[in-house]
């Protein structure tokens, strides 16, 4: 059976429990569901922040997520896959991103979720701007995110 990934980019918040339930509802072939939620922290590099604003490249953001979702589906035996990424203004404590993977066994679900998050960080066209007492500023990319993504490259 072909598995289609659910991919959404949206302003609105999402319900993690509902997304997990939707993926496994009525299925008896799924033995493992892994979910990763990325949440807005209240500080960045030790400085308190009021909010993040997420900008994206419409069209390419969806295409990049789809490309990596397709790769995850080809590398791991997944029964379901959901990726949701919010854009716009997000305050501390709110959800930013969700990856849910479902498989017969846990290893594929864990690995595929980690693979997708590593690539979302480094190749999906989203940018975070923070609001702090010093005014707005763009968050800088981190080298360790590139290293995390690079370990999935097949030699």
């Amino acid at each position: 059976m072909t598995v289609a990934a659910t991919i959404r980019i949206q302003d609105a918040d999402f319900d993690v429990a509902r997304e997990i339930a939707d993926l496994s509802k009525g299925r008896i072939d799924i033995g493992a569901v892994v979910s990763f939620s990325g949440i807005c922290r209240g500080s960045e590099q030790g400085e308190p922040i009021a909010a993040l604003t997420l900008e994206h490249y419409p069209g390419m953001a969806e295409a990049e997520i789809q490309r990596h979702a397709d790769e995850a589906l080809s590398r791991w035996p997944l029964q379901g896959l959901t990726v949701i990424h919010r854009v716009g203004r997000i305050e501390p404590g709110e959800n930013i991103v969700l990856v849910v993977t479902a498989s017969a066994h846990r290893q594929a679900a864990f690995e595929a979720a980690e693979f997708l998050m590593d690539y979302l960080k480094t190749s999906a066209p989203f940018w975070k701007r923070e609001e702090s007492a010093r005014g707005p500023s763009w968050i800088e990319a981190r080298g360790h995110d590139d290293a995390a993504a690079a370990r999935w490259t097949k030699s």
Binding site: E55, G59, M60, E64, H85, T122, W127
Partner: protein, 83 residues
């Protein structure tokens, strides 16, 4: 061709997109960055560190040596910070 800018590249240039017609000797993405940087102060500021700038042709990531011939849409942006 249409050129799009995102995040601080967009803010520094002061516009999100525009249509440009570079001369024929501008062959690669790297050439285009150099050509755009010479258009004025705001462009020079946006492209002051060309090695930091990422690019996409028709919504696919490309390297600076990628040819721009036939491109409909070229985007320039900082390293991504989503997720």
């Amino acid at each position: 061709m249409k050129v799009k800018y995102f995040a601080w590249v967009r803010e520094r240039i002061g516009k999100a997109e525009e249509t440009v017609e570079p001369p024929a000797e501008v062959r690669t993405v790297g050439d285009l960055i150099g050509w755009l940087a010479a258009r004025g102060e705001t462009y020079a500021y946006a492209f002051e560190k060309p090695k930091v700038i990422r690019a996409a042709i028709d919504q696919t990531h490309v390297k600076p040596d990628a040819a721009i011939l036939g491109a409909r849409e070229i985007a320039f942006f900082p390293p991504m910070t989503g997720g």
